[in-house]
Symmetry: D3
Subunit: 131 residues, 6 copies
């Protein structure tokens, strides 16, 4: 259970309800997931996060699926269970195959391993990486 | 400075030197970076990490550049400075443009923000993400 | 479920039970929450944590509510669900309003975002911050 | 050294330079610190972070100094050295006394200790915290 | 629930089933725990993790119980609930007494506290530690 | 550079100087390392940390060297550079051989890898680990 009540459409402030409506319209679904309903206690943050995430995750120099894979990687390193479930679902919706998922996890595992080794050893950065 | 001496070719055990040689051959360079020279005190780990990283980062369902972007994302979340410098350099070598770098950072920043919110609110995972 | 059994008053060692009694007296309640019952397997740590937390969270240069907000911020960054639930409850008991909670979360989200950016970019500290 | 060049006013794009100018005007100083100069490679993120941080850190239900203390707490838990230096300086500018700094650190240390214990023990959340 | 289906012996690929069989033989049990069944979607990673963990956790300069204590310490710092439950069970199987568990937790708590203080203060490393 | 001045014996308050003296006496050295000199701005925390660390790191159900190895593991996972340098030095003083150091690092790397996988997959804990 969340530390706040999940707000229904009726309970949410008009500014928050407008975000719910835009989520529905943008995604072509009636469903608004729990994250947004919890965040609706803070309509300013809700509005800003939603506007920003639409912009950041849009196609650009990187395609939307690649962006979802990066999102999963960050969420795994931070241990955010909610984020892992929701963005793994998003990545599948955007075309992540089981093979891509498997390779994503192997890269995350590899980076976690060498991150730990480089940190534990406090390896100094090579001059050539600083050039 | 690292917590161990960086081993030169002469100081490294034969098993470690063989890895140094394979790094040079695989990358077409004479340079072996500090991470491997620090890890050479542990030839078993060195050999295993190098063999695994070659396999994991090879082209597959995901291309090598996408894998480097994921590596940077994990390293940022773990705060590994060495890893960020070395894999940002690798990503550039594999074709990461300034525009791609900028978008990568915006996705990392976005995920860090929503990870923090979902965690601080302890949002429960929607049933539909568990199906 | 915890990795250890939660100890009842009857099961706890006398040193641990004395802490349970002091928790009840200090808080004016009969309830001793799970954290203390799990920690009771280690009476030395239990006694020391309880003595220290009473001292650290007492009014001083910072008021107790501000200290709870800081506690929530640290717990969010560490991803400790138990701590987030218990200290969000404590903060409400000490006067945290929904508006304060909303702003707390926005600061946590902001810091998480710029922490990620400064780390991913490995920005060097300005001399003037070191003066 | 950062993974990107710190951009001077001359090197920055007009959109980024406008942010630099607003930083100077808002703070009443000629100095633009390194974080913003590194972020200037990504004018969209720079503009958005700056606009958001001005809004989030403004006086509200929480005062600006309390917000800086929360920022330091998050930055400590994430291990962001740059952020710790810059926000410790900001907190001092906004009135943090040595006594407040000492208590802030004691709360951060306390939370880190109990976060670790609750996590290592995997203590289940009490029903009453979920009510 | 995991983000992937836990694979039964019948559902797993032959390479993954061979790992399941080796887990059973090595441990003298019929039970294969959930981690391996989730990882079986990625037979290459499954095979490599299992081979490596057998080698790393074997008796050497450090005994297997000490290695489990270190594993728990890392898992606590990363907040991995699954890992804490499974490796606390393993440590008990290898002889961890309640007294050892209590002291392990006190060291983890101590380190988390001083890690937070040294980081928040950004203490510079003494020259003598670098010699 | 630290976010606070490192205090000399002359600058430290009497309560802090008494801790410095006890550090010297306990360790049989004239040297007081930077961590304690930074922490001396907060004599209450300094006194409490020093008293607690002496007790927690003393021989008990676990020997002092094993405790240092656990300390290093936690410090690596938290990315505390100061702590890694100082506790790697301590561990060597207490008898950590290069072979033990190598195996310690391999266990840290292994745990970091499986922590990442179990978290990314959100594997549910087996009932038998909860019994």
């Amino acid at each position: 259970m969340a530390t706040v009540k999940l707000l229904s459409d009726e309970e949410a402030a008009p500014e928050a309800r407008a975000v719910f409506d835009d989520i529905r319209a943008s995604r072509g679904t009636d469903y608004v997931n729990n994250f947004w309903r919890a965040l609706a206690h803070n309509p300013d943050e809700l509005t800003d996060v939603w506007a920003r995430i639409k912009r950041v995750m849009a196609p650009g120099a990187l395609d939307p699926l690649t962006k979802e894979l990066i999102y999963i990687a960050v969420s795994a390193a931070h241990g955010c269970g909610y984020c892992l479930h929701s963005h793994t679902a998003s990545a599948r919706n955007k075309g992540m195959t089981p093979e891509m998922h498997a390779e994503l996890l192997s890269v995350i595992a590899m980076a976690s391993r060498t991150n730990a080794l480089a940190t534990a050893l406090q390896v100094e950065t090579d001059d050539r990486f600083l050039a």
